[in-house]
């Protein structure tokens, strides 16, 4: 079976005058549909570059990125926007909610541009925010804001959920709760989730762990028995 996400020899090279910076230097990996994948690596290893390329925010210098069989490296800018619009749900480290929209409205904002969105209230209820829908971001805690952010991503009904250090700005317990939410979403809805973190302690909960170092994949671990989040500690 063809993998759902495939990166083949993806390179991203920035030219700063004379100097070439190889942010991604031939990355290869595959992720199956419905998997919970974690991309781990130290700062500057190229995690974010991978994420940007996967999220359609940046284009690879060379190589192939196949999402559900489509090679997005060949997309034109406008197609890339469409890709972001329809296929990708993005969870930011700093939630990036629109401050003067309520939780519900923030979700609706994303739905406005989608073709087959889910119901905003339902999704919010699913992430456990049924009582806080009318609140503005500033009235929510960090974890709650991240839940809104996840709800916003999920409501678009994307093919792929990309999470950029979703627990980075959260405390331990909240972070765990968020990870649980993501894992549950993956398990229950069969959503493909790619989580990017520098925290390798999270790795055991993933189906697949991709280690990146110096712009290359150093190893890929297939985890046949991922552990529940609750059991992980860091």
């Amino acid at each position: 079976m063809e993998s759902f996400v495939t990166l083949k020899d993806v390179r991203k090279i920035y030219k700063m005058g004379e100097v070439e910076i190889r942010a991604a230097d031939g990355i290869d990996f595959e992720i199956e549909k419905g998997e919970f994948a974690v991309v781990v690596g130290p700062s500057g290893a190229g995690k974010t570059t991978v994420l940007n390329i996967l999220g359609g925010m940046d284009t690879a210098t060379s190589g192939q990125v196949l999402i559900d069989g489509e090679d997005i490296t060949k997309y034109k800018p406008k197609q890339l926007i469409g890709y972001r619009r329809e296929d990708i749900g993005f969870v930011f480290q700093f939630y990036n909610l629109i401050p003067n929209l309520t939780a519900l409205e923030n979700v609706e904002l994303a739905l406005q541009i989608c073709k087959e969105p889910l119901d905003a209230e339902t999704v919010l209820r699913e992430v456990g925010l049924e009582k806080r829908m009318k609140n503005f971001p500033a009235q929510l805690s960090g974890g709650e804001q991240q839940r809104v952010s996840i709800a916003r991503a999920l409501a678009k009904n994307p093919k792929l959920l990309l999470c950029d250090e979703p627990t980075g700005a959260l405390d331990y317990n909240t972070g765990k709760a968020i990870l649980k939410l993501l894992q549950d979403t993956c398990r229950e809805k069969g959503m493909t989730v790619i989580l990017i973190t520098h925290n390798s302690a999270i790795a055991p909960m993933a189906d697949r762990v991709i280690h990146i170092k110096n712009g290359k994949v150093s190893k890929i671990i297939q985890n046949d028995h991922p552990v529940p989040v609750e059991t992980i500690e860091w």
Binding site: T48, N52, G55, M57, D58, K78, I81, G82, Y83, R84, R85, E86, I88, F90, F92, Q93, F94, N96, I98, P99, N100, L101, T102, E105, E108, L109, A110, Q112, I113, F136, P137, A138, Q139, R152, D164, A169
Partner: protein, 1228 residues
């Protein structure tokens, strides 16, 4: 240099944020330029004026005495403390005629050093009969240098009472600092309006005392005109001059009295002498009258005699004329007959000529035919001859041929005979030979049988062969020989036969030849015979032709002879007729000569008679006129006598009056006035004040916006660098060093902007403003625009205060916080529910996107108010700019097309007689193009709100027909447009004056000519009016109030066709009327007004452009801030998959909403501001319109929208450039 790093960071910050730095720089520059520029315009206007005044030594004080000023007065004035210089001068108002119009000219004497004239063309007058004219007047009147100009006094007095002569030569044109614009003041003569001034030498005046004295005040020159310093300095001296006035006046009075006494006694003396002289003259006249009477009666007798002689002469001539006429008739009938005779003869001659010509032509034709026939015959004869010759030649030849033929035949026959003989012989020989051959053959055949026999024997007996063989051989040999001989014989026969045959053939050929020859000969003979026959025929014909020809010739000759005979006869007849006519003509000629001489004689006689008659009628005429003269002379004599008596009586009365008057004469007065009596001097000062009024409103608003912009920008900067501030603080830098950076940043931008603003603004704006005022004040030569450091300092200080305080305020919050707090992202602005959300039914109907937009607007309140204030302010400025234009430009139309709807005005002279007035009115009602006219009395009077208060000047207009006047003048309320009727209850006052006096409907006002008692009237209505002030009243009211009948001095008229051409035509006709002083046209006043008001256009354009620039800077800056602040939010939207235009519209929606809100606010604000500005910039005699046209709102709004669109367009690219990676960054 201990904080080198910090300093470096500062410069980097400036360089990195050029946009921000320059936005502060330019907004401050704009604000400062506008503030200091407009503010400086006021002092600059004054300085520009003052420079000119000082340059021309313009007077500070003017003293006028009601009885003039003497040399003693001048000396006394010069001794007053504080007076720098005094010069006495003369002046008089005189009337001159320009075409049909009378114009008033103020003639003044040239002062040595005060009120210098700026000569623009030609030179100053140098002799007493030279004059320099006002250059404006020169232009309007069309006079040229070198022209002569004539003056009259315009009153009953002679002009020579005040001027040495009536006529002057124009030697130059110039302007005076006393008259810097179009106004020249008013006069008591003419139409009351001085059209121009003129300068002559003092000696050109014939007055013995000065009319006025001009003073320069010590130290006044150093002060700037229109300032308090100047006013105080002059006022001080003015008071001192007024102090000596009384003493000087008394002195003057006693002097006058003395002079008068002497004059009166002189007069009495003169009267006595005159009386004696008159008596003597009357006596002489009586004598003359009786002489004349006698002469007249002699003359009458002579005339009667002459008339009789004349009558007889006339009869004689008439009878002579009768005879002459008969002779003439006869002559004429003879003449007619002669003519018919001549005509007939001519006709005959002509027909005869024609006939003869035809006959001759016929003869010629006949002759030609004959000649032709003859020629033809001659040709035939020739042919015959040549034919005969030919035949003759042929005949011998034929003969010869026949002969030779005959010979040939004979020869042939002979030859035949010989041949036949020979033949017979030859045939016999042949037969013989053949016999021989036959025999030979038989022998041969026998031989051959022997041979054959032998051969058979040989064969049967070969043995015998030997023996027989020789025999055989021999036999054979014999046979051979016989055969050969036979052969030869045969051949000989053959040959002979052949010879025979040849000979026969030869004969045959010859025979044939001969036969042929015979044939040809025969044909030749036949041809010859034919020819001969032909020839014979031709000869016969020819003979006949010749006979015919000869007969024709003969006939022609006969005919000619006969014709010629006929012609000769005709000619003789014609000649005879001619001779007859000739003699008839000669007779007639004689008759004519006789008639002519008769006529001549007769006309001579008639001439003589006419002459006589003339003489006679002249004589009669002379007698008649003599009689008339005599009668007149008698009457005149009586009249003179009476008049003389009367005059003497009058003179006596006068002397008595003079004595009485002298006793009554009052103390003269002095009027001491300063420059305020010069209307234009004052109005220029008022304009400067008005500029200050503008300067107090506009720049403030401008500045406010600029300050707000700086505040937002600096606040934004501090907020952006929050983290850095925290870091610096954490590192231990003091508050001062940290805040210093931002203060320095603001200081640098502000100072830079201020310097640029002052440098440009204080030069450019005053220049433009004074320049545009010079359209009105044409004679102001200088534009002096020094830097007004006080305003520069004020503007800079204000700008610095604004930006630095704003910076401090922005820093304050940041510096007060703990470093740790600073390094954390600021607690994000809370999203809040807004008021609108509580109004459920509106909120629910808004789309989601609009909800967010509206919440956004209220979230960034500072920005909201900034934008509203900024753009709204700019919009307001533009509305004011356009509105000013509307208000100013509308007044011409409103005043002259809606309120004063008449087309022209006729000013009547004060001295017009009733008859002349009636004639003028009749002319107006008779003219086809005049639709109607109304009578009015227009005079300047003083008006005040109470009987003591300050009086204002106003036109009092008394209307004769109050019901008809609505066709010419519309009284209405400006706001409600309700029209009023003029009633006998009270007056209608114009709006501006009502406001100046602060009177309302129903209030009382006080009216009266200057120096006269004021009368109280009630204001019944207040009407819309823009130019000048008027108080309208009815005739009845006037009579009631003043107790006198008004003297109507004006006719308002309305035309059916008011095109310029028709207007001029009508005006010209009216002007020709006696007693009409002047005609003015509403059209031309309107044009003039519009030209004048255009000077304000430039100021308005400056306003609009500046406002536009401001709007642009504000919009750009605010948008820039908006985008920078929301960079993260916008990046997130992009990550979520918003297209570029969706992201832009997310931002634009707010901008558009803000722009529209601002426009609405700007409209309101503009309306209020416009109101304020319009009332402050108004000139005294003018009221500007109060209405802003809707177009002005539209244009301002469009400009604002355009700026907004442009800025949004620029922003689109900024938005596009936002990097999505921003969304990943942590919150600063």
């Amino acid at each position: 240099m201990k904080k080198k790093a910090l300093r470096k960071e500062f410069w980097m910050a400036v360089r990195k944020s050029k946009g921000r730095f320059f936005s502060i720089f330019f907004i401050v520059a704009l604000g400062v330029a506008f503030f200091s520029g407009i503010r400086s315009s006021e002092p600059d206007m004054r300085i520009s004026g003052d420079t000119y005044y000082d340059e021309t030594n313009m007077m500070d004080l003017k003293v006028q005495g009601t009885m003039g000023l003497t040399e003693d007065d001048i000396t006394a004035l010069s001794k007053v403390e504080g007076v720098e210089r005094v010069e006495g001068g003369y002046s008089v108002d005189a009337v001159t005629k320009i075409g049909q119009n009378e114009k008033v000219v103020h003639i003044q004497s040239d002062l040595p050093t005060i009120n210098d004239i700026s000569v623009s063309k030609g030179r100053m007058p140098e002799t007493v009969d030279e004059i320099l004219l006002d250059e404006d007047f020169m232009e309007s009147s069309g006079y040229q240098i070198g022209d002569k100009i004539r003056f009259s006094s315009g009153t009953a007095d002679e002009i020579t009472d005040s001027l040495a002569s009536e006529e002057y030569e124009i030697v130059g044109a110039g302007s005076s600092s006393c008259y810097i614009s179009f106004e020249r003041g008013s006069s008591l003569i003419g139409n009351g309006e001085i059209a121009g001034f003129a300068v002559v030498l003092p000696d050109a005046f014939s007055m013995d005392v000065y009319t006025e004295a001009y003073l320069l005040v010590e130290g006044a020159r150093e002060e700037t005109a229109y300032t308090d310093g100047y006013d105080e300095r002059v006022k001080e001296v003015k008071e001192r001059v007024e102090d000596i006035a009384d003493a000087r006046c008394e002195e003057r009075l006693s002097q006058i009295r003395e002079e008068a006494d002497i004059e009166i006694s002189d007069s009495e003396q003169e009267l006595q002498e005159a009386r004696e002289e008159a008596d003597r003259q009357l006596a002489e006249a009586g004598q003359k009258i009786s002489d004349s009477e006698k002469q007249l009666s002699d003359g009458r007798q002579q005339v009667v005699d002459g008339q009789e002689a004349l009558a007889s002469g006339k009869e004689e001539i008439d009878s002579r004329k009768g005879t002459l006429q008969e002779a003439k008739d006869q002559y004429e009938s003879g003449m007619r007959e002669l003519q018919t005779g001549k005509d007939e003869l001519d006709a005959q001659r002509k027909s005869f000529q024609a006939k003869r010509d035809a006959a001759y032509d016929e003869f010629d034709r006949q002759e030609a035919i004959l000649k032709e026939n003859e020629e033809k015959l001659a040709q035939t004869a020739e042919l015959i001859e040549s034919g005969e010759a030919e035949i003759a030649k042929q005949e011998p030849k034929l003969e010869e041929a026949r002969k030779s033929l005959e010979e040939g035949k004979e020869k042939l026959n002979a030859a035949k005979e010989i041949f036949l003989k020979e033949k017979e012989k030859a045939e016999a020989e042949i037969a013989e030979k053949e016999q021989e051959i036959q025999e030979g053959q038989e022998k041969l055949d026998e031989l051959s049988r022997q041979i054959e026999e032998m051969e058979r024997q040989i064969e049967e007996n070969p043995d015998l062969s030997d023996i027989l063989t020789p025999v055989l051989e021999d036999l054979k040999k014999q046979w051979k020989e016989g055969d050969e001989k036979l052969q030869d014989a045969r051949q000989q026969i053959e040959e002979a036969k052949t010879q025979l045959k040849e000979k026969e053939e030869e004969l045959n050929i010859q025979e044939a030849k001969l036969a042929e020859m015979e044939k040809t000969l025969e044909s030749s003979e036949r041809m010859l015979a034919e020819k001969k026959e032909q020839l014979a025929d031709a000869k016969v014909q020819y003979q006949a032709g010749i006979e015919k020809l000869n007969a024709g010739k003969q006939a022609l000759l006969d005919a000619k002879e006969e014709a010629e005979k006929g012609f000769a006869m005709g000619e003789a007849q014609i000649q005879e007729a001619e001779a007859k006519l000739q003699s008839a003509e000669t007779q007639l000629m004689d008759a004519e000569n006789q008639i002519i001489s008769g006529e001549k004689l007769l006309s001579e006689a008639e001439n003589l008679l006419a002459e006589k008659e003339n003489q006679l009628s002249e004589a009669q005429q002379a007698i008649l006129s003599g009689e008339k003269e005599l009668a007149e002379g008698k009457e005149e004599y009586e009249k003179q006598k009476r008049e003389a008596e009367e005059q003497f009586k009058e003179a006596e009365q006068k002397i008595a009056d003079a004595r009485a008057e002298l006793d009554e004469i009052g103390l003269p007065t002095w009027y001491v006035s300063d420059r305020d009596i010069l209307t234009e001097y004052t109005s220029y000062g008022e304009n400067a004040d008005r500029m200050r009024a503008i300067g107090e409103v506009f720049p403030e608003l401008f500045f406010l916006v600029a300050a707000l912009i700086s505040l937002t920008t600096m606040t934004r900067m501090v907020e952006e660098e929050r983290g850095q501030i925290g870091t610096l603080k954490a590192l231990g830098y003091g508050k001062k060093s940290i805040a210093g950076k931002y203060l320095l940043y603001a200081l640098l931008a502000t100072l830079g902007g201020s310097v640029l603003g002052v440098l440009v603004g204080e030069k450019a704006l005053p220049y433009i403003i004074i320049y545009s005022y010079r359209i009105m004040y044409t004679h102001l030569p200088h534009i002096v625009i020094p830097y007004q450091w006080s305003y520069a300092a004020m503007a800079t200080a204000a700008a610095l205060a604004c930006t630095l305080l704003a910076t401090l305020y922005a820093c304050y919050k940041a510096l007060a916080a703990q470093p740790a707090e600073l390094m954390r992202p600021p607690s994000p602005k809370e999203g809040k529910r807004i008021l609108l959300e509580r109004i459920g039914f509106i909120w629910k109907h808004l789309s989601f996107i609009w909800k967010s937009t509206i919440r956004n607007l209220f979230r960034y309140k500072k920005r909201l108010f900034m934008t509203l204030a900024g753009i709204g302010g700019c919009m307001a400025l533009m509305v004011v700019g356009f509105g000013l234009k509307d208000s100013i430009m509308c007044i011409g139309t409103l005043q002259y097309q809606e309120l004063q709807v008449y087309d022209g005005m006729v000013y009547l002279s004060d001295t017009i007689t009733d008859q002349e007035k009636a004639d003028t009115k009749e002319l107006l009602s008779d003219m086809k193009n005049v639709d109607g006219y109304a009578e009015a009395d227009m005079r300047r009077v003083q008006v005040s709100a109470n009987d003591q208060g300050d009086a204002e000047s106003v036109y009092q207009c008394i209307v004769r027909d109050k019901d008809d006047i609505s066709r010419f003048l519309v009284f209405r309320d400006r706001k409600s447009q309700e029209t009023y009727e003029l009633t006998d209850d009270g007056v209608i006052l114009t709006e501006k004056m009502a406001k100046t006096l602060d009177v309302k409907k129903g209030d009382k006002i006080y009216l009266g000519a200057e120096g006269e008692e004021k009368k109280e009237v009630t204001v019944t209505d207040i009407c819309e009016n823009y130019m000048e002030h008027y108080v309208y009243m009815t005739e009845n009211l006037y009579e009631e109030v003043y107790g006198a009948v008004p003297e109507y001095n004006t006719l308002l008229f309305d035309l059916k066709d008011n095109s310029q051409k028709k207007l001029d035509q009508t005006g010209e006709k009216i002007l020709k009327q006696d007693g009409v002083m002047n005609v003015t046209y509403t059209n031309s006043i309107e044009d003039q007004l519009n030209t004048m008001l255009k000077s304000l256009n430039l100021v308005i354009v400056v306003l609009i452009i500046s406002a536009g620039m401001l709007a642009f800077v504000v919009l750009y800056n605010l948008n820039n801030i908006n985008i920078t602040e929301r960079r993260r939010e916008l990046a997130t939207l992009k990550v979520l998959g918003f297209y570029d235009n969706e992201v832009s519209s997310y931002v634009y929606r707010e901008n558009i909403l803000l722009t529209f809100l601002s426009i609405l606010i700007g409209m309101g604000l503009g309306w209020i501001l416009h109101r304020f500005v319009i009332t402050t910039v108004e000139v005294d005699v003018v009221m500007f319109g109060r209405v802003i046209n809707w177009q002005s709102y539209l244009y301002s709004a469009l400009f604002t929208v355009a700026f907004s669109l442009f800025v949004n367009w620029v922003m689109y690219y900024k938005l596009k450039k936002i990097d999505m990676v921003e969304s990943m960054k942590s919150v600063e």
